[in-house]
């Protein structure tokens, strides 16, 4: 039921935008699962989980974020051409989208630093804990964005 009453020309950018957002949600969810699991595993298993979390950032999170963000701009240009009044819910999308660059950079940095923690005495490095928190926070932010995009409060 997505895209109720939209012109045909908006459908491809909308599909690609939602596709990117859905894959981004799943990819960040994967990082959350891996990073959180690494905090509860023995010293041998934890580094493997952290390595996979970092690779997931590079292979899945960033490409899907770029797809989501570029197609967001594409559909915005069709739905609200220059000069058209933009509703408030678009602003929520910008906060989560553009603000997401900073959040994901922080998450990538923490995930990378966590992979470099080789000290077996430190089974739960702070960077892995922070990465888990950032991933959880961004999942909530994405949920707020899809609430704004679908329910369009205030419009």
């Amino acid at each position: 039921m997505l895209g109720f009453l939209r012109p045909d020309a908006w459908e491809l950018p909308l599909f690609l935008h939602v596709l990117g957002a859905v894959v981004l949600f799943g990819a960040v969810g994967s990082v959350l699962v891996l990073a959180a699991a690494s905090l509860r595993r023995d010293a041998r298993a934890a580094p493997l989980l952290r390595r996979i979390a970092f690779k997931t950032m590079l292979i899945a999170v960033w490409p899907s974020f770029i797809l989501m963000r570029l197609t967001a701009e594409w559909i915005r240009s069709k739905e609200f051409p220059s000069g058209a009044q933009e509703p408030d819910w678009i602003g929520v999308g910008y906060v989560v989208g553009d603000g997401g660059v900073v959040v994901l950079l922080g998450l990538t940095l923490c995930a990378w630093l966590a992979t470099r923690q080789k000290n077996a005495d430190r089974a739960r490095p702070a960077t892995a804990t922070i990465a888990t928190g950032i991933a959880g926070f961004y999942l909530v932010a994405l949920a707020v964005a899809w609430f704004a995009m679908s329910a369009k409060p205030g419009s």
């Binding site: 039921m1 990819a27 994967s30 699962v33 493997l48 899809w146 679908s150």
Partner: protein, 159 residues
């Protein structure tokens, strides 16, 4: 906000949970297929239980609020071609995904057993975790899920 807005939000939430869970399952499945040690394969495949939670919750939200939306909106009918097609593809996605998931579960059980018996790489486990038939099931299930998303947006045949 109208009833339609809320129904759409919960329906979209179902789509994010269902398809997001598929991404989680793929990330963990690919990571497991690239490992040889049974304990590592068992660990990664065991984490797919979180994807299972997403599938369950997403399926419920998608179906309940999707059908509610069709009833709430006069412009669409449950017998519209694109809605029937979406329902068929969604059921196929769940059924085929269930078959693939069953094979993955057997692979995980094998990995757990081998992990307890010395945790040395085994050709049987490597073959199971990289099984082409399970891969085909999982690809087909995922494609069917994303095809539903495409139908929801493009709505072929809708006025």
């Amino acid at each position: 906000m109208t009833t339609y807005d809320w129904l759409l939000f919960f329906h979209v939430s179902g789509a994010f949970l269902f398809l997001g869970a598929a991404v989680v399952a793929w990330v963990l499945g690919i990571a497991a297929a690239l490992r040889d040690r049974p304990s590592e394969i068992a660990l990664l495949m065991g984490l797919t239980r979180f994807a299972g939670i997403g599938f369950g919750l997403g399926t419920t939200l998608l179906l309940v609020f999707g059908i509610w939306l069709v009833i709430d909106l006069d412009v669409y009918d449950i017998t519209d071609g694109w809605i029937v097609g979406a329902l068929i593809l969604f059921v196929l996605s769940i059924v085929i995904g269930g078959i693939g998931g069953g094979r993955d579960k057997r692979t995980r059980m094998l990995a757990l057993r081998l992990a307890d018996e010395g945790d040395t790489p085994s050709a049987e486990l490597t073959g199971a975790v990289r099984d082409a038939r399970a891969l085909i099931y999982n690809i087909a299930s995922t494609l069917a899920g994303f095809a539903v998303l495409a139908l929801m947006i493009f709505k072929p045949g809708a006025s």
